[in-house]
Subunit: 246 residues, 2 copies
Amino acid sequence: MTLKFQWLFLGSEQAVILITQPTQNGAMMVLISNNLINPRTVGRLSIYRRVLIQLANEGIMRVFSRDLAKMAGVSPSQVRQDLMKVSTNGTPQNGYSVAELTQAVITCLGTTKITPVVLLGAGPLGQAILDCFKATQPNLVMSAVFEVNPNMVGKHLYDIPVLDFSMLANHVQAGRIQTAILALPAEEAQQAVDILIASGVSSILNFTTARLQVPSRVFVENNDILLSLERVAFYATDTAEEKVRA
Amino acid sequence: MTLKFQWLFLGSEQAVILITQPTQNGAMMVLISNNLINPRTVGRLSIYRRVLIQLANEGIMRVFSRDLAKMAGVSPSQVRQDLMKVSTNGTPQNGYSVAELTQAVITCLGTTKITPVVLLGAGPLGQAILDCFKATQPNLVMSAVFEVNPNMVGKHLYDIPVLDFSMLANHVQAGRIQTAILALPAEEAQQAVDILIASGVSSILNFTTARLQVPSRVFVENNDILLSLERVAFYATDTAEEKVRA
DNA sequence: TAGATTGTTAATCGATTAACAATC
DNA sequence: TAGATTGTTAATCGATTAACAATC
């Protein structure tokens, strides 16, 4: 009997895993449908991991939810609620073992598995992303950069080869690459996404302003830098002009 | 009588404006406390603006909430709910005038006022942000880039002068600059933020992994690229390994 | 008019916070 | 033991969605 499992993303904040099996007439039957960790929680767990690693570097052995909360910028309740998603081992009076909790969070986030990534676009943003990769955990490995600009193709950026865009589908399929980063012009985004998904990609980090059309099994994280800029501009207030005469 | 008004940010998703006046003993008395547009709504309004401008370019004169919703990737209810925040002018049967709605959204977002910005950090990420500025509305104007690296100071990047970090406070004060972008090492972030806030900055776009400590009147938008990467890696699933034998 | 859409209020949904028994 | 913290359930809060009267 062949079982199949896949993520399903509901909106942008909720994820579900489906385990299905084929019925006699060929249709799929849902066996298990588990609510799993949603993107917000994953984000906070990543932050806890950073904080925990820093604590370990400082030689601190144990930590309370209150302290972890303060350092991560969230509430103590939130920390304990989130830690319910990982196999916790805290004790009253003693809090959590930094070493054990770090391990539990890392296991939960699956940061132990090597995840190959492709980057689309070798412009300034693409290069900045490559630069960021120096700081990531070693489980994320950049496989190649794809560009249409013939002046860049064949070179290396941060030791990563820049390949022609036409090689994208083959490369992704051959390397069974599941993760892609979009740092190309918004007009080219959807077309590239169609190729990526057809080649097996299931998780996309989208730095373009385009709204991507993808099947529900594919995860999309939008990081719209222009939107961030516009929002920050909106909330800027000139304190020097804040006083008005009535 | 001197009135004073200021934003107040509650958590990361809610903003309030306070209008206060001094009492006889010098304390401030709250006159009006208005719930105003929260960051999520501001983000969606920015997206609507983009969509509307594109529609105008295509020569389309009128639009229904249903169509706007589809193009922005949200629900029709959400569109109408958001448009309640701007002075709307839609009519049943005819929907919204693209030109009028664009104008109303732009007015609401305050995109008419020139907003000067400083950028901290001239590394690869800083340069990518400068590159993004080409695409922004002309109301956002980059004033200067600040760096500690003496090899960069004195040069120009994208026609913007790179100044020494020691000139930051004076420059921000002299130019009454309210908005700053952080693209420097996380270890230097808080120290820089303290200088910025003391110099009058009220709105910060933080690209570092640091959690910033700021007074509640200051808006902080965190854009943690490493977190985005980690989240995307988490949801990647290898479809080729999705089939398991039971 | 009939039908469809707006503007707005009510209902739902989900995420965060509070509370508290169990425990060290 | 007394006091404080965990793990978890219940309550709250806020955001999104649905519903619907008013309207063109």
